[in-house]
Amino acid sequence: MKQIQGSFIRGFVTIVVSGHMPEMFFQECVRRGITVWNIKRENKKTCSGNVKLSDLREVKRIRREFQYKISFRERKGFPFLFSRFFRRKEFVLSFIASIFFILFMSNIIWKVEITGELPKEIEEKISKQLNEYGVHPGAWIFTLDPPGKIQQKLTEDIPELLWVGVHQKGTTYHLEGVEKIVVKEDKVEGPRNIVAAKKGVIKRMYVSKGLPIVSINDYVEPGKVLVSGILNEVDNNAGNEDGKDKKKPVKVAAEGEIIASTWYEVDVTIPLKKNYELLTGKKEKKYFLGFNNFTFPVWGFGKPEFEAIHYDSNQTPIKFLRWELPIFIKETTLSEKQYHEIVRTHEEAVEAGIKQAKEELQLQLGPEAKIVSEKILHESVENGKVKLYLYMTVEENIAKAQPITQGD
């Protein structure tokens, strides 16, 4: 029976043979290696039997050699079902339409989930921000930025978030946020001194609590006590009664701001020639439908009118249910760029170097420090670069709290 197996899949035909001794026709078929089954004698002159669709050509060849008449009665199997299916246009159309529908649905966001232990208001803020980016149920997935970019944007736009993880899981966007808990700087509680954090010459002092030990224009080394927290107050009551100058130390938390002039030595090198690219802001977008390495333009034809182009591509695969198809949509942004070349004179280079050094130092010291003056200690030109050795004077707060260790 193995020979008949699978005949429904590949299709078979019931043929009716008529003529003298019709069974001999099947005998001839079998002799040539055609499998025949369910042979029935209909009446004296006719016989019916099943033949595979693939053997039909051979059967027709045998018929030409003999004087039998053959008619086809039934066609069964998938090939016939398929042809009947494809003859009906509505079926085919609706089938294609449904595939496109699923394709369409698979590329839409259905759900945006925010997890993590976040307060309600931050959660709302996130969903509002996401709406602004276009991440909301019903949005096309391939018009959105990749999750990494959304992640970056979210952490930038919502300062309360310490970290946010954005994962795309099929048609849902999973967001996991961690709130930033603003921890106040640990203040030294209890009695304390103010000591110098850096070496410098004191310029101004504002002491609100405590006993200043140094005075303006004093040079201090790091660690030196500037404002003491131990006050030697006269205990008035005791002094009056006993008639004795009895001093009792009182410990307080010293507070104050000590502005000192400090100095830094900085090295900078500035090239005399500099090349850089700048985007002008003119841009065009092109869309491609891609398959493997082959891309087919869908939208945005022709060359842009600018010559120097910066390409920025972004690929989004199209999904079918949960599988990613090998087809993808590629969005390419072409932006015009300009090449700039700067040739600086020696003086300009030095100026740029000083500016750069100042900026770097300001960044290092924080916004409260003030750079007062700078001086070039040494300069040299090497390999088209100006090397500067700068001396900078800065006025900044050098106060640092230090607890007074109790004797007990």
Binding site: M1, E23, F26, R31, T35, V36, W37, K44, G49
Partner: protein
């Protein structure tokens, strides 16, 4: 030569106990009740009607009689007959 072979074959079957249907080119028939007859090693169909099947063999014919016969499967040397079998007969040529 063929004469020698014909004398040699029964001897092979008898003393080496080789299967007789293979060695002597005889048809092998499997009958399941009155329902099926499975015939191997036949030499071709000669008559097939609703109530009779006649097959050629090396030494004559096999005649099977009954009613409502259907050839369930037909291959070059095998045949599967279905129907109500009443009679199996060997007709020497």
């Amino acid at each position: 030569m063929s004469k020698l072979q014909q004398r040699l074959r029964p001897w092979l079957v008898k003393y080496l106990s080789l299967p007789s249907d293979v060695v002597m080119e005889l048809p092998r028939m499997t009958i399941i009740g009155q329902l099926h007859v499975y015939i191997e090693n036949h030499k071709g169909l000669s008559v097939f009607t609703d109530n009779e099947l006649r097959l050629k063999t090396t030494k004559g014919y096999i005649q099977i009689k009954g009613s409502s016969f259907v050839l369930k499967m037909m291959l070059p040397e095998e045949i599967l007959l279905e129907g109500k079998i009443t009679e199996v007969k060997f007709i020497p040529a």
